[in-house]
């Protein structure tokens, strides 16, 4: 199993100015919504690639939050945080699904579920944007 790669919250969770009811406020994700580590692994027999996020609040039972074109997003049953992405592909082609993954996370953040986790989905998207390419390249390397 590959090692967890620590995420730097200062680069992932950057405060930004948002408009709430016409008022400019500085906003960023709550600390418990920022993944502290990420890892990418593969099951070559089942042709599946897993992207997993770890949080300070620990693990919890997972449910499918979204499913499309061979990609499944697993969210926490209670917190609704994004914990795992399962891509039905082999190690070398998993990176091609990043566009689908990103659009699915964006759709998930628009859902009106309770509790709202749009900031969590935004930070996981950021993690993938910053570290995703390297993680998938590293995974593809291990297959050679």
């Amino acid at each position: 199993m590959p090692r967890w790669q620590i995420v730097d919250p200062k680069t992932i969770n950057v405060p930004s100015t948002r408009k709430i009811h016409g008022v400019d406020v500085e906003a960023w994700a709550a600390p418990q919504d920022v993944p502290e580590a990420v890892r990418v692994s593969a099951d070559p027999d089942a042709k599946r690639v897993f992207v997993e996020f770890r949080y300070m609040t620990g693990e919890e039972p997972l449910v499918i939050g979204a499913e499309k074109d061979g990609v499944q997003l697993f969210i926490g049953q209670f917190s609704r945080r994004l914990f795992r992405i399962v891509i039905r592909a082999d190690k070398s082609t998993a990176a091609d699904f990043m566009g689908t993954v990103t659009s699915m996370i964006e759709e998930l953040s628009k859902s009106r579920a309770t509790p709202p986790r749009s900031e969590n989905y935004r930070t996981t998207e950021q993690v993938l944007a910053i570290k995703g390419r390297d993680l998938f390249a590293e995974l593809a390397e291990t297959s050679r």
Binding site: P15, I20, V23, V25, E26, E60, E119
Partner: protein, 275 residues
């Protein structure tokens, strides 16, 4: 639940009732298994009395123990609130530049709990109805339960945190609705001489009603010039909100990724599980 002297004493009293109730019920149960005639006077007459009244003694003692347990679980153990208070003080010391004595009470950290039901609200929000127009006790409220320092502990700043999220009040309400960290800085400096335009600007930027704000100014209560809030979770659900307020326009040093900001919500959430 603010840790006041009467809550502390009530918790101790209820603990006594609980222990006493179980103990007496146990003794009565043991006495019921004895034969009074086997004992000499005056013990046999006491045992006889217990035999005649034992059934209701056991019922009353057991009920008292159950009620005391329920009251104590509602109050929460005093150590929880002492720990919360210490954590709030620590957070205040870390995120504010407290350079003089004024800083201790001009820069505060308040823990609000989201309550679905609030049976009473003071002062009344409208003269004819305590909870305000189109609002009721079960509208959803953010109630202050603990605050750093030892002054301004009797806060009545209760904010609406309703199901219809558009009407959430204050920075606390907005944090609760969006479940994210928010910061508002450079709010206008308010006083009794402030113009209507300035008061309206302050109310708009801090998400409070103008009426509420005018009442506060009239009561000569200080209005913070910078506010910051973040959600607190207990058992993976949003429990409440922490709000930092300062009378200085830009003195809140809370940053994403700062160790205290990272660890604080987790630490307080773990402690509040026992409340």
């Amino acid at each position: 639940m603010r840790l006041t002297w009467w809550r502390r004493w009530l918790f101790r009293g209820m603990t006594g009732v609980k222990v006493g109730g179980v103990f007496v019920a146990g003794i009565v149960g043991a006495v019921l298994r004895t034969t009074p005639s086997n004992w000499s006077a005056p013990i046999n007459s006491w045992l006889q009395w217990v035999h005649e009244n034992g059934w209701w003694l056991i019922v009353v003692c057991s009920l008292a123990a159950v009620v005391a347990t329920l009251i104590n679980s509602w109050l929460g153990p005093p150590w929880v609130w002492r720990s919360v208070q210490k954590l709030l003080d620590k957070l205040r010391d870390e995120v504010f530049d407290i350079v003089d004595e004024e800083g201790v009470y001009a820069q505060r950290v308040t823990l609000f709990r989201r309550q679905r039901f609030l049976w009473w609200i003071w002062p009344w929000r409208r003269w004819f109805w305590p909870w305000g127009v189109w609002r009721c006790p079960w509208s959803g409220w953010l109630v202050p339960v603990a605050r750093s320092g030892h002054t301004t502990q009797k806060s009545r700043a209760i904010y609406l945190a309703p199901d219809d999220a558009d009407n959430a009040e204050g920075v606390a309400g907005q944090v609760w609705v969006g479940n994210r960290t928010l910061r508002v800085v450079d709010l206008p400096d308010l006083s009794t001489e402030s113009s209507t335009r300035v008061i309206r600007e302050y109310a708009r930027r801090s998400f409070v009603s103008e009426i509420w704000l005018r009442r506060r100014i009239k009561a000569k209560k200080a209005c913070p010039r910078a506010l910051c809030g973040f959600p607190v979770e207990v058992n993976r659900a949003i429990w409440g909100v922490i709000v930092l307020d300062s009378r200085r326009p830009d003195s809140i040093k809370l940053e994403a990724g700062q160790p205290i900001h990272k660890m604080f919500p987790i630490a307080i959430g773990e402690i509040l599980q026992r409340a």
